[in-house]
Structures are given as structure tokens and as C-alpha cells.
Symmetry: C2
Subunit: 351 residues, 2 copies
């Protein structure tokens, strides 16, 4: 019998955003790895690639030409998961087991830069501010469409995250329903707000700043931290200090501070294994259903798969799929490692 | 405006086992793929590999020798995610954001066969019956330990599923808490049982047998089907026809019928892309907390990652992680493809 030591003993942690637990096994990072290694491209990319369908001036799959864009460039996804067609649906037979309903939506691709070879950490702050303006415009335009109630902004980065083109770009899927993960989050945020008249994340950020140990970066308006309940080894979340519920409510200072923390965080990520660090990231914010949503609080999740090196990822498989998410290193340890990494991109030191 | 056609139009389906939706995009399978390809080993494996730590007689990482086992062989995982130590824990400070509790558990590895080169579909029915007996014994032994309230039996197959050794084996993680996914399932099963005095899956299987279109295999005691709400392209579920709540309550006939459907299903999987088909699979059944659990109904999930070929998988990334699981081919189409595949393993035809 020994006393519980959260830094050493296997334990479960609770995620109040989605009401789920995660299994934490601090001691398990030591096990040897003989499994699959990822291939990470170390190839130097050209500034312009004539075969890339995202570079300025090139032709896309549908035969259209990209403009000679100079900042960011947005177009409709040629292979969208949803369609804009209005569908007639009579929900008269409410079947217990075969419950389905049509979904209307729009998918767009957002090129972050005309440069084929630049990712977020290598861009200037002004360029990232420009991406943020593009996200604001898309959130507004898509959100204003009558049947669009949710706008999901996200990025898949790296081939290990299913990204097929290194040209820096993200996506936006806007749709009529709240997606499952967003609905779960909203339920938690709402019940906290109803009880406390403050947003859950406002209080959480305060508690984290006080604790200190999971903070990666802090500036005047944003905090980047490894959540207490993170599931991916180097998972982080960027949260606004102010309880602002959507990206279009940022002040000018907040936009700049958000651009800065995005650059810093992704620089640290690249510096972790001296590689272009793969991840999926995405913004969670107020739905666009016309309601006020004071419970919502802007945040951006980063889910990176790598665990030990540029080529060894964490596999979320058997136990994780059937049972519960499981991690092999404590969030406190991950935060410490990220915190201590330089803000200067490793590539800029080599050049 | 057109009428809803579930085979063509984007829609969402509801999973009553975990109360979550999935986005289905039937038209999207047509998009071209330029992304990452998996490496699938086509190497002929030897019957015995002197460097394999699971083969009979060989030495494991901890220095212990495997016995010259003849059927299946079970040992404690040398790098377990949980430990058996009892931990003293005073839950006096119930913190809203930093909620954690120690978890006690045992991890075991189950070698399915002394043969290094055989997977489930290539084994004899009698050998698979032997694996089922091993699962029954482990479920009983582990379940009888006072602090063990749940026994998760699962298999990660293939390097793409994080499996580092092709020697046929599965795992068992037994622990004091109900893992998140199991708890969600139990809540759904319980509320259905309380209302209907029958298990949810008993009624679901009847509805599926009547509908017919998602059935892959049916025998006297089990059904293998693609759930209406499946998220992975070729996801399936084996469900017992009788409302039996745990593997130890199988009759002798049921054990044989389960062995047969396991062999048939995994044979069809291998025949789909003429490859040793990767997946994570696992059994969901009654917890071992000493209660009766009439709401539980034995079922086994198969989550295979492949989408288009032996090397192109479905990436569950950005939108799926931030928003909602999404699939590119209807469950009905997948079931039809699997149903029409031969029950005779492709390798046995070549030889
Ligand atoms: O225990 P193994 O096979 O070494 O590890 C594998 O399965 C585990 C249980 O699903 C996962 O936690 C690991 O990420 C995976 O690599
Ligand atoms: O839209 P893309 O980049 O072709 O596709 C990628 O992102 C999507 C959204 O997360 C996923 O559904 C796909 O599985 C993935 O390959």
C-alpha cells in the first residue's frame, strides 16, 4: 500500500469538456518500441510546385485555375463530404435502430500562403494575422447562410494525419447540425455557465495559470497549455483569457496575440523532434444558429500523434477504441518539455 | 429540392449504443487519393521465428522463457498500462478541473497459437474454440479478483494498428473501473432494458435480420453485420442471437458457432484485399462487478482501418477528431461487398 503519486502511479483523469475519462500510465513511456515507424519527409520543398493543385495559377482536379493569390485563398472542396442541396425528409417513422437524417453542408479549403514551402511556424506574424482574418470572414459568411448552424475550422498537417499535400492549408466544414464532439462540449459549457454565470474555460484558465505546471506559453490575451485531461502525448489547447465566444469578437490586439501564440506553439512543436510536426488542429467556438451562446469560450485544440520521435507515433487502437483513451507520459511532463523548447525555429538556425 | 435517398445523399446516422452520430457521405468514395499509403508486409512468415518473443521456448524482454506451449499461452504484459499495487487515495478535495483517481489493473498477453505464421482465419475451428476457452478462463480468473470490475479482451492486428509482432496474439486489460466506452454502452443498454425488459441488442439483431441488407454472415447462434451506425469503412459486429451477457455463459454449441463465425468473418476480411487484413477487435460483455447485468448482451466489435485497398486507409483526423466520425461508403454497400466474398481463404487457393 502506498500513497497516490499522480506523477508515478497509473490513474484516470476526467475531461469536464466532454465528460469522459482518460487512463494515464506515467511509467509506460519506458517500454521499448519495435512497431511501425512513420515516414517523415525531409525533402526541401520548392517555393512553387508546378504539380501542386494549391499553388497560385495551377489547375485543380475540377479543371478550374487558381488565381495568382498573394495572401490566403479559399475555394469549395471538390470532394466535399456534404452537399448544399436541400433534401425533403419526412421524419414520420422514428425507428429506434435505423435513425438517420439528411445533412446539408459546405466544405471549403483555405490555402494559408501562396508559398508551397511555408508552414505556420515559418510565416510572419502579419501573414498569420491574415489567415485569422480569412477565418473570421469565412465564419461570418458561412454562418450567415440560413441553414448553416456550425462552422468547423480545422487543419490536418502531415501525411500521417491524412494530409495529401504539403502546401499549407486548412479546411472548413460548415453544416446544419452540431457535430457530436461540439454538442458534447456545448452541453458541458452550458451547464457550467448556468450554474456559475461564468464560462467553464474562464475558470479553468485561471486555475491552470495558478497551478502553472501545464502552461506552455502565456501572453496578454491567450494561454497555450497541455490540458489536465489531454489524451495525445503533446496535445495542447490555446484558450483566450477573456470569455470571448467566437473569432469574430476578437479585438485587434487579441488577433495579433493569437497570431503570435500560434507561431510560437507551432515553432516549439517543430523544434521538439526537428521535423515539420504533424497534427490535426481545430477551433471550437459558438455555433452560428442565431442564439447568443454566452457559455461558449473560444479555444483551439491541437492533436499531434507523435510520441517518442519524428517517426514513432502513439497508436490509439484496441484498448483505446474499445475502452478508453490512454496516454504514456503525464501532461505535466509534456508541458515542461514544450515549455523549455526554443521559440526560434530550428530551420532558421541552420540557414 | 429532392427526396431523401439514404444511398446517395449525405446524412447522419445515430448510434444508440453510445448515443453519438456519424456523418455518412455515400458519394465521397469517388474522390482520388494522393495521400499516404501504408506498407503491408507480404513476406512469408516462418512457422517458428527464433527472434520472436512470443514463439514457444523463446526469451522475453524480462528474461523469462516461454514454455513449449501447444495451444494458447497467456502471460502478464511486461509493460502494462496499469499496476496491481493498491494505492491509498483520499478523495477529499473534489476539484472541478483537476479530477483524478488511481486505477488498479492487470494486463495480459494471449498468444493464439504456437505457430508464428497463422492468424485466426487460417486456424482450424478446434484451435479457435481453444482461444475462446482461454478467453473464458481469463474472464473468470481476472473477474474473480476482488478489485477487478471489468475485463477488456481485444486484439490489435497489423502494424498499421500499432501491433509490433505478427505472431498471432491478443491482449486483456482488466481493471477496477468501467472504461469510458463501456460505461456509455452500459448506460444505453440499461435504459433500454429497464424500459423494454429485453436487451437492446436482442431487438436490434431481430430488426437487422428482418432488414437483411447489413447482414454479412448468419449461423444458428450468431450474426455478423455491419452496424447501421458503423464508422469504419468495413466495421462489423458479431452479436449472439440469444441474450447471453458474457462469454462464460455460452453453451458448447454457441462456442463452436462463435469459432465458426470468427473464422468466416476474418477469412472474408483477408479476401477483401488479398492481404492479412488489419483491425482492432474486442469483446463487450458484462462487467465483473458482482451484479447480475441482465441488460448486457455479448458482442464483438471489429474496427478495420482500410478503405480502398491493402494500402489506403481511412484517416479519422481533423473533422472526425474535432467534430464527428465520418464515413465515405454506406454500411449497406460494405455489407454487400463482405457478404459476396468467399469463405475460402485466398492463401489456401494459391497453395
Ligand atoms: O500493448 P502494445 O501492443 O505494445 O501497444 C498497442 O496497444 C495498446 C492498447 O491498445 C496501445 O495503448 C498502444 O498505443 C499500442 O501501441
Ligand atoms: O479532405 P481531405 O484532406 O482529402 O481528407 C482528410 O480529412 C478529412 C477531414 O478530417 C477526412 O475525412 C479524411 O479521411 C482525410 O483523409
Amino acid at each position: 500500500m502506498k500513497n497516490f503519486d499522480i506523477n508515478e502511479d497509473p490513474h484516470r483523469r476526467f475531461n469536464p469538456l466532454i465528460n469522459e475519462w482518460v487512463l494515464v500510465s506515467p511509467h509506460r513511456a519506458k517500454r521499448p518500441w519495435q512497431g511501425q515507424n512513420e515516414t517523415i519527409s525531409t525533402e526541401e520543398l520548392p517555393k512553387y510546385d508546378p504539380t501542386c493543385y494549391l499553388c497560385p495559377g495551377n489547375v485543380r482536379a475540377n479543371g478550374m485555375n487558381n488565381p495568382q493569390y498573394e495572401n490566403s485563398f479559399v475555394f469549395e472542396n471538390d470532394f466535399a463530404a456534404m452537399k448544399q442541396d436541400e433534401i425533403i425528409f419526412e421524419d414520420d417513422i422514428k425507428h429506434t435502430f435505423f435513425k438517420a437524417k439528411p445533412e446539408q453542408g459546405i466544405s471549403r479549403v483555405v490555402c494559408f500562403s501562396p508559398r508551397h514551402d511555408l508552414t505556420l511556424p515559418e510565416m510572419e506574424i502579419a501573414d498569420i494575422e491574415n489567415i485569422i482574418r480569412t477565418w473570421q470572414k469565412e465564419y461570418t459568411d458561412l454562418g450567415n447562410i440560413k441553414y448553416i448552424n456550425h462552422v468547423q475550422i480545422f487543419e490536418n498537417k502531415g501525411s500521417v494525419m491524412g494530409c495529401s499535400n504539403p502546401h499549407p492549408h486548412g479546411q472548413i466544414w460548415a453544416q446544419s447540425s452540431l457535430p457530436t464532439q461540439v454538442e458534447k462540449t456545448q452541453n458541458s459549457l452550458k451547464s457550467y455557465f448556468d450554474k456559475n454565470d461564468k464560462t467553464l474555460l474562464e475558470d479553468y484558465v485561471k486555475a491552470e495559470l495558478k497551478a502553472g505546471e501545464r502552461i506552455v506559453i502565456e501572453n496578454d490575451h491567450f494561454v497555450a497549455l497541455v490540458p489536465f485531461w489531454a489524451i495525445w502525448p503533446y496535445e495542447t489547447m490555446i484558450v483566450s483569457k477573456r470569455a470571448v465566444n467566437k473569432i469574430t469578437n476578437f479585438t485587434v490586439e487579441e488577433s495579433t496575440a493569437f497570431a503570435k501564440i500560434l507561431k510560437q506553439l507551432t515553432t516549439k512543436y517543430d523544434n521538439l523532434f526537428n521535423t515539420s510536426f504533424p497534427y490535426s488542429s481545430g477551433i471550437h467556438q459558438s455555433p452560428t444558429d442565431g442564439l447568443l451562446h454566452p457559455e461558449w469560450h473560444f479555444h483551439m485544440h491541437f492533436y499531434p500523434p507523435l510520441l517518442r520521435s519524428a517517426t514513432v507515433k502513439k497508436f490509439m487502437v484496441g484498448y483505446e477504441m474499445l475502452g478508453e483513451s490512454q496516454r504514456d507520459i503525464t501532461p505535466e511532463k509534456s508541458a515542461e518539455i514544450l515549455r523549455q523548447l526554443s521559440d526560434v525555429h530550428y530551420k532558421s538556425l541552420v540557414k
